[in-house]
């Protein structure tokens, strides 16, 4: 079975236990305004250009100036291949589940030593559920332990089918208020909350992953809810605080897409991050960590 992936990341150490390989699947149902991987949102491959690297040599026939281009045709892909400095790239490719496992298996000795494995991330694994399931099955057969990183928006039956093959779910909890969630991500969080509760009820190990953007989704009410959810859901093992950073801005430029101007320019100060951790930590018994 084949699917569309954005890329792999080897030697990932903050996306589950140990040293991991992360496969980023393409396609996401949400459009979070702070999304760090905008190139993973579209289901299809998409062209991007690192303008600062571009020599303006014309080797691509001017394609670099015509972005955004989603699902490029053969002639466009051919033009990409002519870029001498690989400034113009195709983000995304079709691969088989076997290829994913072969790539992940390269680092088997590191998994064995560190307790690591493969993390299926995105985009959103639920956006390609059959492909995800196939990867999980093959990984299981190969003895590679898997984590799923998910925004939680999708059909629960798929999430449920992942459980037997998944060591832990890195489950996003982005915004607690449903209406604000809709405004900031494009969908409300009712289905996400429902899936989170079901996952918990079905005994899956869960790490809540909470991106916090100063002035956008770091209200006390949200922090209160994170703490309450973690406390109520017995299978939530820890809360991972993911402080906002502005580093994705460049990726939007590369795709010739607009980076939301309401987002902060800089990193949140260390004191603010400490505040998040201590605030939530005081309100629940689960560990609150910076991954």
């Amino acid at each position: 079975m084949s699917g569309v992936i954005l890329d792999y990341e080897h030697f990932a150490i903050h996306d589950g236990p140990g040293i991991r390989t992360v496969v980023f699947l393409k396609g996401c149902p949400l459009r979070c305004i702070w999304c760090h991987t905008p190139d993973s949102q579209a289901k299809f491959p998409e062209l991007a250009c690192k303008s600062e690297r571009c020599l303006h040599c014309g080797c691509c026939g001017g394609l670099s100036g015509q972005l955004p281009v989603v699902n490029p045709d053969e002639s466009q892909l051919d033009a990409v291949s002519h870029c001498p400095v690989r400034a113009l790239e195709c983000r995304g490719k079709v691969v088989s589940a076997e290829e994913v496992i072969a790539e992940a298996a390269k680092d088997m000795c590191f998994y064995q030593e560190s307790g690591g494995g493969l993390t299926i991330s995105g985009g959103e694994p639920l956006f390609q559920p059959e492909f995800t399931r196939e990867i999980l099955h093959l990984a299981d057969a190969k003895g590679i332990r898997c984590c799923i990183e998910s925004c939680g928006w999708g059909d629960y039956k798929h999430l449920q089918s992942f459980i037997p093959y998944t060591e832990a779910f890195l489950f996003d909890w982005k915004v607690s208020d449903p209406e604000l969630h809709r405004r900031l991500t494009g969908a409300d969080n009712l289905l996400i909350r429902e899936n989170l509760c079901k996952l918990n009820a079905d005994g899956a190990a869960i790490f809540l992953r909470c991106p916090l953007v100063p002035g956008i989704n770091d209200q006390d009410e949200h922090l209160d809810t994170i703490a309450r959810l973690a406390e109520e859901l017995t299978n939530v093992k820890a809360i991972h605080i993911e402080p906002y950073h502005p580093m994705a801005r460049g990726k939007y430029l590369e795709l010739n897409r607009i980076f939301d101007p309401q987002l902060p320019d800089g990193f949140p100060p260390a004191e603010l991050i400490d505040h998040y951790i201590s605030y939530i930590g005081q309100r629940c018994s689960k560990p609150v960590l910076l991954p």
Binding site: F11, A12, I13, F24, P84, F110, G116, H245, R249
Partner: protein, 734 residues
């Protein structure tokens, strides 16, 4: 840091760097001493060189300027780093020896290949570790007595042919002179106030004069003095201080248990010892190593290992260079402490794998005990303890071999036919043909230099006889042969191949662009390389940015790198050398990757003339695009047992990749995965914001640098400048 320590540091700095330090010290000033030594050399011209050397060493020890101070536990010797006998004796001997053994034509070949950095032939006296156990067990006087016993035994065995006489006599002269030096130092120490360091120094010197070391401090002083005399008076015979935590541990335990010294005392002595080495400012560093496995199978890491490393950390120094010999049972806490140092920017610690050493040495016929107790002797190299001198006289620049192959044996910069006629570029119709020609060129150079190596190394004692070192080597004493020449039980010779990744990437580019995709012909490529890519920058950029490079766990470049190296190993490993040992291949670049770059023309991987070559078995600068695990996987494709001396890899990480507990655990897992899978040596560089600024200004050189954004890592060059600036600002406050 207290005032006394600051004064001590200032004193130690002065002692190694202030030209006026010895102004009022007793003894003959160095310049005058060298003149006297030259006269001695004239006088002794008809003596065996070993005797001439011994006389020079004795004269030096009896007359050179010395100093002791209440600020320091270790005496000052004017010979340190100056190596007076090198100037008075050895340089001339080396010159004459080479002139004698090589014909004019051979000398021309050596120079022709050396100047454009194709092949380097040298005498290597820089990779030895004395038998430190014997040095401590016996002391100078005990070593002297042992020489006499062996001489007596030899005399009873061969009374009629006393060829061995000069050998034993020279050692005795030198060790007796060491005792004279101790007398001189004692006389100076007696002038010091009797409290604290001065009193300790006097007591220790007296003990070493009368016998062997009894306390931790005496043992360390013995090591220090032996090192100074062997390395800087008898010259270049002690590369490493050895396995300090293991050899000093019994003294440490005894002193603590007996109340002779407290742990605080021991720490103070260690600080002075470590700072000596830092203050020497020796360019390539004098190493010592931690760990390994004890005879009973337990880890040799002990309480003293931790103290040594803690003091090193606390001093904030970068020299001595440290190695940790890692086995499966090396305590994780100790590894974590070391890795934490590296994370904080102390990147001078290398991890050397014991499983690799044991497997390799067993394969080469060493006993299990020799393999398990092997010493680390240089940067990463290993050897049987107390019974080895391995040399590295021959370095082959594999990237220049590629140039010779492309140009039918002609070296581009000199225009000289330094290689074999293997065919013009247009004659190759398949990559296989070209690759075969490459191997022919490589083997041609090694084949023609091996006879020269054999002659060069046949009588190394004609250049630098080594009585001081030989006296510690039991086999040398038993056979009455110079320890460097052939007296050791193991006298192997390493052949270094450098620029391997540059070569593998270049061969890959030739296969892909010329023979697979046929984007240009080989003659066209050669012409472009001849012009250093001038007028073909777009092609250069394509070649440079092509991701199919060694070090990324990719099939073709890794295959080519391993194939070239294994082909050479199969051909030369085990070939007898002229010192009773054998040749082994090694994949060590040392500093050639940068020093030789100017003389290496443009290469097909997109590298311009003057750009760095690849280092050790690391990817070329900027081409480890898939991170730490990928480069380790590439290196693990080599059969490390084929490369007995060296198969090191350097890995660059950003602090953000290894931050926090998870980062530390990941670093440890990288080391242990590498070691358990028979990796030889691994070395990390963790970069800070200054480096990031350099990376921003010179992106091509840092194309492999990764930064952790949040949930993932990205390549530094893949993020735009504004984001890089933001990251630098963040790094500045770390």
């Amino acid at each position: 840091m207290n005032r006394h320590w600051e004064e001590s540091c200032a004193y130690m700095e002065r002692k190694y760097t202030d030209p006026d330090f010895y102004q009022d010290a007793p003894g003959i000033p160095l310049a005058e001493l060298i003149q006297e030594l030259k006269k001695l050399e004239e006088r002794d011209r008809n003596l065996p060189r070993v005797m001439s050397k011994a006389h020079a060493v004795a004269f030096t020890l009896e007359n050179m300027q010395i100093a002791v101070s209440d600020l320091d536990y270790f005496p000052a010797l004017a010979s340190c780093q100056k190596r007076p006998t090198t100037r008075s004796h050895m340089s001339d001997w080396g010159f004459k020896y080479v002139a004698q053994i090589f014909s004019a034509a051979e000398q021309q070949i050596i120079a022709d290949c050396r100047d454009p950095r194709v092949v380097q032939l040298r005498t290597d006296f820089d990779h030895s570790v004395p038998d430190w156990d014997a040095v401590l067990e016996l002391g100078f006087s005990g070593l002297l007595e042992r020489v006499c016993r062996f001489e007596e035994s030899k005399r009873s065995e061969f009374p009629a042919h006393p060829e061995y006489q000069a050998f034993y006599e020279s050692i005795k002269i030198e060790y007796r002179a060491a005792l004279v030096l101790l007398d001189r130092l004692i006389a100076e120490a007696e002038k010091l106030p009797p409290h604290r360091k001065g009193g300790e120094l006097l007591r220790a010197l007296r003990q070493l004069r009368s016998g062997k070391a009894e306390t931790f401090y005496e043992a360390l002083l013995q090591i220090w003095l032996f090192f100074q005399l062997s390395e800087y008076v008898d010259c270049i015979q002690t590369r490493s201080f050895g396995n300090l935590d293991r050899i000093l541990y019994p003294y440490f335990q005894r002193d603590i248990a007996g109340g002779r010294f407290t742990e605080a005392d021991i720490r103070e002595i260690i600080r002075h010892f470590l700072y000596q080495i830092t203050a020497m400012h020796y360019t390539v560093g004098h190493p010592f190593y931690f760990g390994g496995t004890n005879a009973d199978g337990s880890s040799a890491i002990n309480r003293l290992s931790a103290i040594l490393l803690e003091e090193y950390a606390d001093l904030g120094i970068f020299d001595p260079k440290l190695q940790i010999k890692v086995s499966a049972d090396t305590p994780p806490d100790f590894l974590d402490f070391a890795l934490n140092l590296i994370r904080s920017g102390r990147n001078s610690i290398a991890f050397v794998g014991e499983p690799c050493i044991v497997r390799t040495m067993l394969k080469h016929g060493y006993s299990l005990r020799e393999a398990q107790t092997a010493d680390i002797k240089g940067c990463y190299e290993y050897c049987a303890r107390g019974s080895t001198v391995e040399t590295a006289p021959l370095t082959i620049n594999t990237a220049k071999i590629l140039g010779l192959t492309l140009r039918n044996g002609v070296e581009l910069l000199s225009g000289k036919p330094l290689g074999l006629v293997t065919g013009k570029a247009e004659s190759f119709t398949t990559f296989k043909q070209f690759y075969r020609a490459y191997l022919k060129q490589l083997f041609f150079q090694i084949d023609r230099f091996i006879p020269l190596v054999l002659r060069l190394e046949k009588d190394m004692d004609m250049i630098n006889p080594a009585p001081f070192f030989s006296g510690t080597v039991e086999n040398s004493l038993r056979t009455a042969q110079d320890g460097y020449a052939r007296g050791c039980r193991y006298n192997n010779t390493n052949i270094w191949l450098c620029g391997m990744a540059t070569t593998a990437d270049s061969l890959t580019a030739i296969k892909r662009y010329v023979f697979d995709k046929k984007e240009l012909t080989l003659p066209e490529l050669v012409e472009i390389l001849d012009r250093d890519f001038e007028g073909n920058e777009l092609l250069r950029q394509r070649l440079l940015h092509d991701p199919e490079k060694y070090g990324n766990d990719m099939e073709l470049p890794d295959l080519l790198a391993t194939h070239v190296a294994h082909a050479a190993a199969r051909r030369y490993n085990g070939k007898p050398n002229s010192r009773g040992g054998f040749f082994t291949m090694s994949l060590h670049a040392s500093n050639r990757f940068i020093q030789w770059a100017d003389q290496v023309e443009a290469t097909p991987d997109g590298r311009k003339r003057g750009d760095e070559l690849s280092k050790n078995m690391s990817a070329t600068q900027g081409n480890a695009l898939k991170g730490a695990t990928a480069i380790i996987n590439s290196v693990l494709k080599f059969d490390s047992s084929c490369f007995m001396a060296d198969l090191p890899v350097d890995i660059m990480l950003h602090p953000s990749e290894v931050k926090g507990e998870a980062g530390l655990a990941a670093m440890r897992a990288l080391v242990m995965s590498f070691i358990k899978n028979y990796g030889h040596a691994i070395h990390f560089n963790v970069m800070d914001c200054d480096t990031l600024r350099k990376a921003q200004n010179e992106p091509e050189k840092y194309r492999h640098l990764q930064v952790r954004i949040c949930g993932w890592n990205v390549l530094w060059n893949s993020i735009p400048k504004a984001e890089q600036d933001a990251y630098i600002r963040q790094a500045e406050v770390l």
